[in-house]
Symmetry: C2
Subunit: 209 residues, 2 copies
């Protein structure tokens, strides 16, 4: 069923410039509509309407509604992944607090565009879909990174590095989501400071920061 449909919908590479433009307009509109109304209420017709594109065009570029969200998620995760990759190469030495600060800053920056959209991605996303797979794969990568950090860095004092890493990654990600998308959002700079303090004190076993 679904695989047949996918065969009927082999979206091609655009040959003309306007095609790429249309594609981008659809994606922007989808980001806005999903962020504003959530995934369920963000209908494809509404997305097409906001993109000033016919519904037919939308389905020329995306085989179904899920695919739109999937691309949105993929792009977002890739940005985060790249930023973390850069961080990993640049800053080999440094205090734990400094490393965590860079980490936190990346996550905050990565969410600055549209916090509500990201909330949709993490929450309203269809269950058990490829979207969730990608999100959790990305999460596992980050946990692995932090776990290695906790193992290697001399300031780190935790018993179970794996559980601690899971705690830290989840804390940073979830609190940034929650506290920047809240009706009364915490200011970014302060949020960064508090998150760094929290996570660092936890990882250093309550010792000096």
């Amino acid at each position: 069923m679904t695989s047949d449909r996918r065969r009927i919908h082999p979206r091609k590479q655009p040959r003309q410039a306007r095609a790429e433009l249309t594609r981008q307009r659809i994606l922007d509109a989808a980001a806005h509509v999903f962020g504003e109304m959530g995934y369920a209420a963000g209908t494809t017709n509404r997305i097409a309407e906001r993109a000033r594109v016919s519904i037919g065009s939308l389905y020329q570029y995306y085989p179904n509604k899920d695919a739109i969200l999937l691309e949105l998620v993929t792009r977002h995760l890739d940005e985060g992944r790249q930023a973390l990759e850069r961080l990993r190469e640049e800053t080999l030495p440094g205090t734990l607090a400094g490393i965590f600060r860079a980490h936190v800053r990346i996550v905050i920056d990565n969410h600055r565009d549209d916090p509500h959209l990201l909330q949709v991605m993490a929450e309203q996303a269809p269950r058990a879909s490829e979207v969730l797979d990608r999100v959790s794969r990305y999460e596992r990568e980050r946990v692995a990174y932090v776990e290695e950090l906790l193992t290697r860095h001399p300031d780190a004092r935790v018993r179970d590095t794996h559980v601690a890493a899971r705690l830290i990654v989840a804390t940073v990600e979830l609190l940034v989501h929650q506290l920047t998308a809240a009706p009364d959002p915490v200011e970014a700079g302060r949020l960064e400071n508090e998150l760094v303090a929290m996570v660092t004190r936890y990882a250093t076993g309550g010792g000096a920061v």
Copy 2:
């Protein structure tokens, strides 16, 4: 529109025992279906089917789908609220860590039944509805409680008590959600210890636990 419907649907108090039973069956089924499939895919017909009750009966007890989720949420929040109330009366003295531990334990216990359902409540809940109002009101109560604690308790060392309280409440709530509903959940006892450590070290300014 909606208000007219509500007038047509003044659900009465049940006069016979079987009515209360049916109501409970519907609620249990809804909890299961929502937890399993999410809010959008958890259709009223599916709920009725699982409750072994006709769809008509379901609508005799709940005016619409939202009302079912609302009751589920209300009950859950009330349980948490009552538990916190009891805590507040019992334990006036104690170390910060001890108080936080009691707090964390309540949240974990409150989620033990069906972690996935709670995820639905917090996430898939219809946007800008009464459900969200209740959730955020409960959250504000907890923030106020923690804020007062941070102000009064001698061990607490934080600059901005309000922001710190928001961080702490959000951390406990979100991490319990995330790490008990994950595919590879963290064991409850360990989660409690780690959360208490994290929050306490944060609140005491990195000093001794």
